[in-house]
Amino acid sequence: MGYYFKKVFLIAAKDLRIEFRSKEKIYSMMLFSLLVMVIFNFAFEPGAEYIKDVAPGILWVAFIFAASLGLSRSFVLEKEEDCMQGLMLSPLDRSGIYLGKVIGNFIFAMVIELISLPFFAVFFNLSLTSALPPLMIVIVLATFGFITVGTLFSALSVGIRGGDMILPLLLFPMQVPVIISAVKSTGLIMAGSGIDTYSQWLKLLIAFDIIFFVASFVIFEYLIEE
């Protein structure tokens, strides 16, 4: 068992090392997430009071767009250099490859989100310090939910011609429960409401995370048998 997880973490560490070394993906995802926040601002009156109501939505659109940009590249390197064969030959079952990829993608997405968060506070003139602990719970739960399905579909889309075009078509409708829950709970947290007002959203996020983590974990095996 310990051996299994060691291998899983090796895969995650390998992915993270590649990304942090080349920095290409980090920069593009970062800039992309900031650009979404900036561009959305032009859709509203500058300094309008209602901006606080739409801010959570903008935050999550930025996060999810940036994360899906990253996800679309998750298996591309393995494919280009034929590393998938190597991974499949390694003494680790396929579910382990999935788990490693999920951990790698999750940490990577979290890093991007945590760097973007202060910029979000500045752009929208919000003070997030008091709301930070509950907000972190929402960010972790929603990001994990997004990544579980995202990693599965990312592995799927590299196997198809024009897959990078198809990935968002698969991902966005799938993420509707995550997006709704994340936006609503973020809004309630920023308005200073108590946990009882948004606990139902947290429950929904947890349910999503568990269902799709288990389902993807089981199904992944069928996806890459070649």
Partner: protein, 227 residues
């Protein structure tokens, strides 16, 4: 036996559909609040139910394909998905046409409407993926993965949009709680089976088509080999 059922079914269903139409337009009383427009309800509900049923067939076909790896399950999955999309289009057009005079707006973010819209998007993506893959077993495998994940998402999407709406400021009266007249219930009881059989007829035909395509591919391969 199977062929016999296939030829008999349309003759069973046609009178049933005609009876359903008669009941919808003549037998069922006019709704006192909504008026004649309420007569969309019977077929709208029937198609919604069958649309959902077809995605369930896709789900079953997808799971069975991954377990058994038999082409027939993939045929079931693709046939059901295609018909499901067509039926969803009917649900998504008749819904707003009913909402316009009753609620005064074409589109509302009603949980059922949202769920059907997202469902349509997911299965449209499912068909896109299928079209993008040439190799047969790979296409079936990838499609099955999407079919399973997409169907699992249905209850969560419904729940999320339901909670979202109840918290959201409600500008529209929900039409949910009207008491159905016994004649209305009877009409619905005829319309639903009529459309369900209609679905089965289409499904069997669509599966035949897929089987014939397999034959064509097989024969082509044979000819190529001989040439």
């Amino acid at each position: 036996m199977k062929e016999k059922i296939k030829t008999i079914l349309p003759y069973v269903d046609l009178p049933l559909i005609i009876l359903a139409l008669y009941m919808v337009f003549i037998y069922a009383p006019t709704d006192s609040y909504m008026g004649d427009i309420q007569r969309i309800f019977y077929f709208h509900v029937s198609f919604a139910w069958v649309g959902f049923l077809s995605f369930f067939c896709n789900f079953v076909g997808s799971i069975m394909y991954l377990i058994k790896k038999e082409r027939c399950w993939d045929i079931l999955a693709v046939s059901a998905a295609e018909i499901g999309i067509a039926f969803c289009l009917i649900v998504l057009t008749t819904g707003p046409i009913w909402a316009r005079p009753v609620w005064g707006t074409w589109w509302t973010w009603d949980p059922r409407l949202v769920t059907f819209l997202i469902l349509t998007f997911m299965y449209a993506a499912y068909m896109t993926v299928r079209n993008a893959i040439e190799e047969e077993t790979k296409r079936a495998r990838f499609a099955a993965v999407i079919g399973i994940i997409a169907f699992l998402n249905v209850p969560l999407t419904y729940l999320a949009s339901h909670l979202w709406r109840t918290i959201h400021p409600d500008v529209i009266r929900p039409g949910g709680k009207w008491g159905l007249d016994p004649a209305m219930t009877a009409t619905l009881r005829i319309a639903v089976p009529a459309i369900t059989i209609f679905f089965v007829i289409l499904l069997l035909r669509r599966m035949d088509l897929e089987g014939m395509r397999d034959r064509v591919a097989e024969l082509k391969k044979k000819i190529m080999k001989e040439a």
